[in-house]
């Protein structure tokens, strides 16, 4: 029975209410849940025990950028087309720093943007939660908490009454 819906969604009017509700749902043992808000709320990340991983990608991007910058200039100046100018060294690395720096920033920045999009699974045009009643207010002024039916503790009746005990404005079902 609980398989036929994606989950149950509760709507809240304030950020404090959704933070409190998420905390109590977590304490009640629910794990497969997600809070939705019009702006970032740090407490939610802590309660959901979620650790962003984007920084590792950015670091790798930066290192790759620096290496690319140096390799490009080294190859061009030393291997592909060495030019003798007054006996100066081909590998004049101090002159290469600026391009290396710019490529470090470029690659790290690209990693930050596309890494964020990738880790978040974007573009993601369809998601069941968009079916929920009044969910489009999430980008305006409402806050939501969804407990998914795939959570082992999920039970259509008990979860609904649990959510209703959290003082939401409304609890509705989310169609898959």
């Amino acid at each position: 029975m609980s398989e036929s819906i994606y989950g149950l969604i509760a709507r809240f009017d304030t950020p404090e209410a959704v933070v409190e509700a998420t905390r109590r749902a977590r304490e009640a043992g629910y794990r497969k849940m997600e809070a939705y808000s019009p702006f970032p709320i740090e407490e939610l990340t802590e309660i959901l025990d979620f650790k962003p991983k984007i920084q590792y990608l950015v670091f790798i991007g930066g290192v790759l950028g620096a290496l690319t910058g140096f390799a490009l200039q080294y190859y061009a100046s030393v291997i592909s087309y060495p030019l003798i100018i007054g006996g100066r060294p081909f590998n004049s690395w101090p002159a290469f720093i600026v391009v290396e720096f710019e490529l470090t920033i470029l690659f790290a920045g690209l990693a930050a943007v596309f890494g964020m999009l990738g880790l978040n699974g974007f573009p993601h045009p369809y998601h069941p939660v968009f079916n929920a009643k009044d969910f489009k207010l999430v980008s305006r002024d409402k806050f939501f908490l969804v407990i998914e039916s795939s959570d082992p503790r999920f039970d259509a009746e008990r979860t609904r009454s649990f959510l209703e005990s959290l003082n939401p404005e409304e609890v509705t079902e989310v169609q898959p």
Partner: protein
């Protein structure tokens, strides 16, 4: 005395704003069928000036750079002046969006969106000038390193090539930073739109954003990292621009303090442009609740601080010329002050060094029309500064037999004015189709301010 030291005297947000009012107010400007008459007139005028730009470019491409006032002695004319001017203007947007984010200056939230837009449009104009200055813009791709049939590579030891990398990285990162900031707001527009087509279009750009807490966490971290990357980037960009000058051996250019001088000048001119845009925009769209007098005052303070650094640099230039004991350096300063371009030099000293001292006074910083006039003055002054740097050093270099005079021709001016029209036209389009104020950051601000209220 009268409570003027209290920083909270003028709020960063008008009274009575909630999550809903912020959203409705900002998205309402975009999601309406009624285009304001003032917008149509303003955009129409700007569009005509864009035609002037296209016409000037056509003449340039058909006849070559000979239509400009360049000569053998002054080979860097308006194109380089305008390039430096436009890049500099762009810097304020990145400063507001990145550096002030790192310093957690929440007052920036309402101005960062259009300051970033301004950055992108200004850098687009800046990028145009070096490309057309090459004379054969259809070969501009030669600037990029690629395994070519000529088996040649660009000169990696030249600041001009560093510039290619700095500017292209800058424009890419600025554009991405801007877009990332827009994603949640695209989602808002998608959700608020009544019209199906409009909803689809914003929906595509929103990429399916749904405000999930885990997404926000990843998103905020990415935005913070981008800001941390953009901060050294913005400093590097104008430093590299200054290398174009400082690495050469031309009198007046060959100094070690050029990078900080250029960077502070860039921030100075950028903030002047933000103020120039913010004052009419907030008046026209009645956004006084979001862009309050406090914002304008803070920007005026930054203008004053960077203006003082720039003025210090002008004084140091004179000191270095004297202290170096170098004949050519001394002549360069003497020629600037008394030569054929002396009126330009003294005008820039007036605009950038003297007039800005008015901003010491709170009354002036709070006087919106006067602040607008000062900002325009700084825009002019900073253009003159670049003109003086480029032209006075070149036109009387080492050998008197090569001395020449330089002046912009009609096509120099028409292209310069045309790019201003292009910039303004893009700003108009931006105001019509994108939220001019970052809605989700404003809602964060409402949230934080409500907490502050509880604590007190």
């Amino acid at each position: 005395m009268a409570a003027s030291t209290d920083p909270a005297e003028v709020p960063v947000l008008g009274p009575g704003q909630t999550y809903a009012t912020v959203t409705d107010r900002v998205s309402g400007v975009v999601l309406t069928k009624d285009t304001p008459k003032g917008w149509l007139i303003g955009f129409g005028i700007a569009f005509l000036i864009v035609m002037l730009m296209l016409f000037s470019l056509t003449v340039l491409f058909a006849k070559g750079v000979g239509v400009w006032g360049l000569n053998n002695t002054v080979a860097w004319g308006f194109a380089i002046v305008n390039f430096v001017w436009w890049v500099g203007i762009g810097h304020a947007g990145t400063l507001i969006s990145a550096i002030l984010l790192l310093f957690r200056q929440e007052w920036r939230n309402s101005i960062n969106r259009f300051a970033e837009a301004m950055t992108i449009f200004a850098v687009a104009n800046a990028g145009l000038f070096p490309i057309i200055h090459t004379g054969r813009p259809w070969l501009a791709y030669w600037l990029l390193p690629y395994p070519s049939m000529f088996q040649l590579w660009p000169q990696f030891r030249s600041p001009l090539l560093w510039d290619v990398f700095a500017i292209s990285t800058y424009v890419t990162i600025s554009l991405l930073f801007w877009y990332v900031g827009l994603i949640p707001d695209f989602a808002t527009l998608r959700d608020m739109a009544d019209n199906k087509t409009v909803r689809r279009i914003y929906g595509i750009f929103a990429l399916g954003w749904r405000g999930a807490a885990r997404h926000w966490a990843q998103y905020s971290r990415a935005a913070l990292l981008l800001a941390a990357l953009a901060t050294p980037l913005v400093v590097s960009v104008h430093s590299v621009v200054s290398f174009d000058f400082a690495v050469s051996s031309v009198p007046g250019w060959h100094t070690t303090f050029l990078p900080p001088y250029f960077v502070s000048g860039a921030i100075y001119s950028g903030f002047a442009m933000v103020v120039t845009l913010a004052i009419p925009i907030r008046k026209f769209y009645h956004m006084e609740d979001f862009i309050t007098d406090r914002h304008l005052e803070n920007m005026a303070k930054i203008m004053l601080a960077t203006g003082l650094i720039v003025f210090y640099a002008y004084i140091m230039e004179v000191f270095f010329a004297w202290y170096s004991g170098n004949h050519y350096e001394k002549f360069m300063i003497y020629n600037r002050m008394t030569g054929p371009y002396a009126p330009y030099y003294w005008a820039l000293i007036f605009f950038n060094g003297i007039m800005i001292q008015l901003l010491w006074f709170k009354k002036v910083r709070r006087n919106i029309p006067l602040l607008f006039v000062i900002a325009i003055g700084v825009n002019i002054g900073m253009w003159l500064e670049r003109f003086i740097i480029v032209v006075t050093s070149l036109h009387r270099e080492y050998l008197p037999s090569t001395w020449a005079f330089y002046a912009g021709t009609f096509w120099d001016w028409s292209l310069y004015i045309g790019t201003i029209g292009f910039f303004v036209a893009l700003i108009f389009l931006f105001l019509r189709v994108l939220p001019m104020i970052n809605m989700f950051e404003m809602k964060e601000l409402v949230h934080h301010l409500s907490h502050k209220g509880e604590e007190h």
